[in-house]
Symmetry: C2
Subunit: 103 residues, 2 copies
Amino acid sequence: MGKGKICAQVAHASLGAALEAMKKKPSWFEEWTKGGQKKVVLKVGSLKELLEIYQKARDLGLPAFLVKDAGLTQVEPGTVTAVAVGPAPEEEVDKVTGHLKLL
Amino acid sequence: MGKGKICAQVAHASLGAALEAMKKKPSWFEEWTKGGQKKVVLKVGSLKELLEIYQKARDLGLPAFLVKDAGLTQVEPGTVTAVAVGPAPEEEVDKVTGHLKLL
């Protein structure tokens, strides 16, 4: 994927998880907004790892969003491209993504 | 800025504009959501051009969000890094950004 396409996937994931938090964890959303809506973009080594991140976030009850691309441009339809975890308390997010490196 | 940092700016802008639309143009937000929340990431040639894009969107009454980075990592505090325009009807957004190239 090109740089803009990657950024769009990150934005899809971020918005999806933020909207979920607004509905299901409004106090977490509010705290996150007060703190400037911090976002950290990380990378994984494989699709398997990405799906495990998503599952672990779900298991811990954290807001999470998995992006499947419509596949109209650069990738096959349904390709999983990104996962967002949180907004949630930082120590909770770190349980899931704390070991990953920055993109 | 590194790739992840750029993606974070895009996500900040995207979320900011989406939340504005939710409040001020709920029908536009709903239409956009039905259509899969399409996002297109574009580039400008200068800060001046970026600020003009933002102003033009405002003048047309479109949701828009300008990102000023907190400057804790890769750029100076207050650096303008990205602008989001919309969600809005595609022909409205195109009046502002239709001439720009993909990032």
